[in-house]
């Protein structure tokens, strides 16, 4: 029975990696195919997650489909947990695909919170990549622990970018941290 599952998974993966060069498919057709590929990925994970990991890595390295790449990244991070940290860090540092990098930032916070904090801090303080800066702030908010809350407070007080400061304030308001109210009141009552 396991053999049948494995064969099905291989077929699904083959289907995902097949491209159709020279054929310009209609948009709907392309969307349908992308949806099918994603479903095949899900099926693969449900059936045999251990064997799915090398395939997911393969898809992440070789597919040209950015959406599929992102899905593979999320699944992989979910499956590997803490082990995915070096891969995510590499994508954040080296990938040219901004969306994939953003996805990696979010995945980083979800999979290995303790290791993620210093990475996220340095991303928030890096003004050269404003899109990643804001995503890192979202990821920090999702960490939802005392250290991330302290860092959000620090960002709200001292970050050079006004928009980042404002965003940090909003996340503080949503954080459910008992210290949020007092901090916000301090900002409101601060002397001009």
């Amino acid at each position: 029975m396991k053999m049948i599952h494995w064969l099905f998974a291989m077929t699904a993966c083959l289907f995902m990696s097949v491209s159709t060069p020279g054929v310009r498919a209609a948009d709907t057709d392309r969307e349908e195919k992308a949806g099918l590929k994603k479903e095949a990925l899900c099926a693969l994970l449900v059936m045999d997650s251990e064997k799915a990991i090398p395939l997911l890595r393969n898809i992440l390295d070789s597919t040209a489909d950015p959406k599929l790449k992102q899905t593979a990244l999320l699944f992989l991070a979910q499956k590997e947990g803490d082990k995915a940290f070096p891969m995510l860090k590499k994508i954040i540092g080296e990938s040219k695909d901004t969306e994939l990098r953003r996805m990696a930032v979010i995945a980083l916070a979800q999979t290995s919170p303790p290791k993620a904090l210093p990475e996220l801090r340095s991303l928030v303080m890096n003004p050269k990549q404003p899109k990643l800066q804001k995503t890192a702030l979202v990821a920090l908010f999702q960490l939802n622990n005392e250290e991330s809350f302290d860092f959000l407070k620090n960002v709200a007080r001292t970050h050079p970018d006004h928009d980042v400061r404002r965003q940090a304030l909003m996340f503080i308001g949503m954080s459910k941290n008992p210290g949020a109210e007092k901090f916000l009141m301090d900002v409101i009552n601060a002397k001009q």
């Binding site: 304030l169 909003m170 949020a180 109210e181 916000l184 409101i188």
Partner: protein, 356 residues
């Protein structure tokens, strides 16, 4: 030799300047002066038929709206402005020209105005693209303009052009002509969407008659959504009585949706009032904007403690902007403490009525 070059450069500059000031060649003006808008419109229609068999062309006229804020496309892109294209001098202080552009195409049936596209623009809007001739009729009074537009509205059956004409009528500040028109449309037009729009546009006219009519909608047995539309219009209306009506509705109307909407529009009025005296630079001030943002974040925290802090800020913050925001967010939480605070700020007894 050098003098000769200087003269040529000067001549070139003068020519460029003249080209910039002169109206575009495709702008055609009526020959006779001193005629009213209706007569000039007739002239343009006949001319258009003779020149191009009905279109494509534009008939344009301007109205000075005074201080009234209106909803035109103020985003000027690159290129010539409408005002300079029509050869008009720049607006003086207190002048607020609004242009009514009627686009005719080959398919246009001028008799019932079907297919004529009406656009609103201002002095700084971009000049119309293309080579279609522009018949510019001149600048007219609001009374002449509303008379012409009323005539067009009566002939239009299709929904979209009728909505545009209604908007064009509504932005005129001569309440005596516009308010009875809008009320008549709100009561008698056979198109429900047009009736709704007419109710909405009454919000632009702060007069007793407009507010009285909106009050009758609140009490009459009609469509279920009619009272909420009337509340929206009262929310936009700057008349002191509109505020008083909203305060009563928020305090004790039996319909929950009406109470909720009244509270929302009142909180908007408070916000506007508290920002009214503020200069643009003050409202964009970085430290204030951070404090306002912190207040918005505070408002997202559920529970009594955050509510108490918002209420305290709404009652006694020294910064009017912050106070207005606190009232707004307290109202969004439907906190019962907000209504007395709103009453204190809006106080319709003391607020001057904008017009009779």
């Amino acid at each position: 030799m050098q003098n000769n070059r200087m003269t040529k450069t000067l001549l070139g500059l003068i020519l460029i300047l003249a080209a910039a000031i002169m109206p575009a060649a495709r702008v055609i003006r009526p020959p006779a002066k001193g005629e009213g808008l209706a007569a000039r419109w007739q002239w343009a229609r006949e001319q258009l038929r003779k020149d191009s068999g009905g279109g494509p062309a534009l008939i344009v006229y301007a109205v000075d709206m005074g201080d009234l804020e209106h909803h035109c496309n103020r985003t000027k892109k690159s290129g010539q402005t409408l005002g300079s294209c029509l050869g008009l001098m720049p607006e003086k202080k207190g002048e607020n020209r609004t242009f009514f552009l009627f686009r005719f195409s080959e398919k246009t049936n001028g008799k019932n105005m079907e297919g004529v596209r009406l656009e609103l623009a201002d002095n700084d809007s971009e000049a119309p693209a293309g080579k279609a001739p522009i018949y510019f009729l001149g600048t007219f009074s609001t009374a002449e303009s509303t008379t012409l537009l009323k005539g067009f509205f009566a002939r239009v059956k299709a929904l979209k052009p009728a909505q545009k004409l209604l908007l064009a009528m509504a932005i005129h500040p001569n309440h005596d002509a516009v308010v009875p028109f809008l009320i008549r449309v709100a009561q008698r037009d056979d198109r429900p969407k047009i009736r709704r729009k007419a109710v909405f546009w009454l919000g632009l006219h702060p007069t007793d008659r407009a507010v009285q009519f909106l009050e009758t909608i609140l009490t009459s047995k009609g469509r279920d959504d009619a009272p909420r539309q009337a509340v929206e219009s009262l929310g936009l209306n700057r008349h002191a009585r509109a505020t008083a009506v909203l305060l009563n509705l928020a305090a004790g109307d039996r319909r929950q949706a009406v109470r909720h909407d009244a509270l929302f529009w009142l909180s908007n009025k408070v916000r506007q009032k508290m920002r009214a005296g503020m200069r643009n630079t003050e409202s964009k001030d970085s430290s204030r904007s951070m404090r306002v943002c912190a207040l918005t974040a505070l408002a997202q925290i559920p529970g009594d403690s955050a509510g108490d802090k918002l209420a305290a800020l709404a009652r006694s913050s020294a910064d009017p902007h912050l106070r207005g925001e606190a009232v707004f967010w307290l109202a969004q939480r439907e906190d019962p403490r907000v209504l007395p605070i709103m009453k204190g700020i809006l106080d319709p007894e003391k607020s001057p009525s904008p017009t009779g």
